[in-house]
Symmetry: C2
Subunit: 375 residues, 2 copies
């Protein structure tokens, strides 16, 4: 594990982007960033040069924006850098590739403490060191914006293998998952339910059974309440704010000949539907397997209660690897079977659970419902 930059002090909070200037800010951020073992030419020129040993490279890009994607009241700067790295590296791994490098563009308000940017750099470094050693930042950009924004582009190498795309699942394949399900979704539910300073309300006329009463997207994210929740429910809240992803399982699935794969970003049902749609098949999750996932989430933290199954099936941002394998094949290390690929008959749903179509309980989604005025 790289300790490059790990012992550097943070700048005092009075040093801001505008008070020290861009050049000095970059000078302080730079030594904290992880180096890439694949960089043939690193940062500092018009562009970097990165090795692509099998004459191809995998590339994905994703932005994180203050408001819809994170709240500074709940996420530390270290969380932001960590999450930006992991979410992008998970997309690389979901192709069956091994991460190699990142470029990172950050835009921040002028009054942003330099220590915030340093914390983001530390999070990038620590996520790479912990989950993708050798992967580093080969280039970047620092700009001014009224809205704190991170744009990360991640690269990887297929090491000569075929990319594992979404469209290769075949009838009879085994559906398997590596990593956790439902934790990050339960984490964001907890933060909105109990981490905001105005208590959520729901008009009686739309009252749902108690287990389905999700909070309204109201209230202001509260730093102190968020900290408390993180202490009380570390597994759930950390899965949301500083997620991990079984990146190496992606490579193992590629090596084992997975027929299709993606990382679970928007929930198991929705993401399985993407594989089913692209492959022209249906995906049937096994009742017992999903119950076991729900039971395991409930055992981890009883606060999820009767909603455990919904978090498992609908919770996003866990970045588990969801893959299909030919029925005869042994599952690679870290994968557990949770379903099978079936024929898609006319009118048949893309995804079923225990043979039934799954209907998500009424509720709100803090992301799709975000309106730019709150948080």
């Amino acid at each position: 594990m790289s300790t490059h930059g790990a012992d550097l002090q943070l700048s005092p909070p009075t040093d801001t982007l505008s008070s020290v200037g861009e050049v000095e800010a970059l000078k302080r951020i730079f030594p904290r960033l992880p180096a890439s073992s694949g960089a043939l030419l690193g940062p500092g020129d018009d562009a970097a040069v990165v090795a692509a040993p099998d004459a191809r490279f995998v590339v994905t890009t994703d932005m994180m924006i203050h408001g819809p994607d994170f709240r500074l009241a709940w996420s530390t700067p270290h969380d932001l850098g960590w999450k930006a790295a992991i979410t992008n590296l998970a997309d690389v791994a979901a192709m069956g590739a091994v991460p190699s490098a990142l470029v990172v563009a950050i835009a921040a308000p002028l009054d942003t403490p330099v220590a915030t940017l340093e914390g983001i750099a530390d999070g990038l470094r620590d996520a790479c060191a912990a989950h993708a050693p050798g992967t580093g930042v080969v280039g970047g950009d620092l700009s001014v914006s009224n809205t704190l924004t991170l744009a990360v582009t991640a690269f990887g190498s297929l090491e000569g293998r075929k990319p594992v795309v979404r469209s290769g699942a075949a009838v009879g394949d085994t559906v398997a998952v590596a990593g956790e399900l439902g934790r990050a979704g339960a984490g964001i539910w907890l933060l909105f339910a109990e981490g905001t300073s105005v208590l959520p309300t729901r008009p009686d006329k739309t009252a749902a059974p108690a287990s389905e009463q999700l909070p309204e997207p109201e209230g202001q994210p509260d730093a102190e309440l968020g900290r408390k929740l993180r202490e009380q429910h570390p597994e759930l809240v950390e899965a949301q704010l500083a997620p991990t992803s079984p990146l190496d399982a992606g490579r193992r699935a590629g090596t084992a000949g997975a027929t299709a794969m993606l990382d679970v970003s928007d929930g198991l049902i929705l993401d399985a539907g993407r594989i089913a749609l692209a492959s022209g098949v249906s995906i049937e999750f096994l009742h017992d397997a999903i119950e076991a996932e729900a039971e395991s989430l409930r055992a981890l933290d009883p606060v999820v209660g009767a909603q455990a199954r919904d978090f498992v099936l609908c919770g996003g941002e866990d970045h588990a690897m969801l893959a299909t394998f030919s029925s005869g094949a042994a599952l690679p290390e870290g994968f557990r079977m949770i379903g099978v690929v079936t024929e898609r008959a006319p009118g048949h749903p893309l995804v079923t659970v225990g043979g039934e179509a799954y209907v998500r309980p009424g509720g709100w989604d803090p992301f799709s419902d975000w309106n730019g005025a709150t948080g």
Copy 2:
């Protein structure tokens, strides 16, 4: 020249990101984007796969943010896509590489018309078709933000050549430039001087000679005034809002063995200083060559007047290729000699013009002075 997507209608202005939703917006933007001939796997999966024929790839990233980097009052959506493509491709070309692909992340307010996003896509497509045919968009991300933001990452191939870095200039080398100097700087000066709705003022006590009286960073960018300026001074205003860059000159310089190169983003003096600093040399611009550049800018548009020389030396964003070549070498097509590389004696400036250190006249810089409250 690709006409892919070129005949698609824009959506009606009443269709916004929030009224049609992300999925539908992407569906409309997608067919307008340029395809990449180097894409082994295009958009639509967790990540794309791009060819890297010589087992390396060149990568650079740059954000454009509403406020510091552009104003919607002056730039059309097509301008934004065009400029985002060109500025990034120029960084690829400045390594001596040939552009191959882009990934594009856009974050926009919910009330953004879909037609704005379509216009950005059209600008990306038309810039690639005009200046880097075969280069296309292999992936992207669409998010919600209070601040319209474009983050582009561009890729290129060195075709087996060494990258042309900033640190290779040697004493005796010829300094040469391909492309235009001073136009984009004069364009932004014009826009701030005459394209804002409040006329700039300068207190008498700081009055400089007339030729140096640059406007204050005051006033609101005005769409109608901007349109008028673009009609009256098309070369200067378009160089700022929809720049071109001699991308192919970058490859030619690489092939011809340029010893150092960058694209002029922040002004000739400042960027030459970067080569000089990295190479441990000084750069001497020839008096007559700079006068000829200034004269040519004045001939193009007399509005630049006595400031022509300052625009040539300090104007940024022209994305000309500034390169050094061994003294015996023939300059590649499109390059003209403007200086020589000299020894850096102790206390000697990094860059001189006609043997003298250049001191920039007092003035403001709309970018470094941008404070987030205006525009």
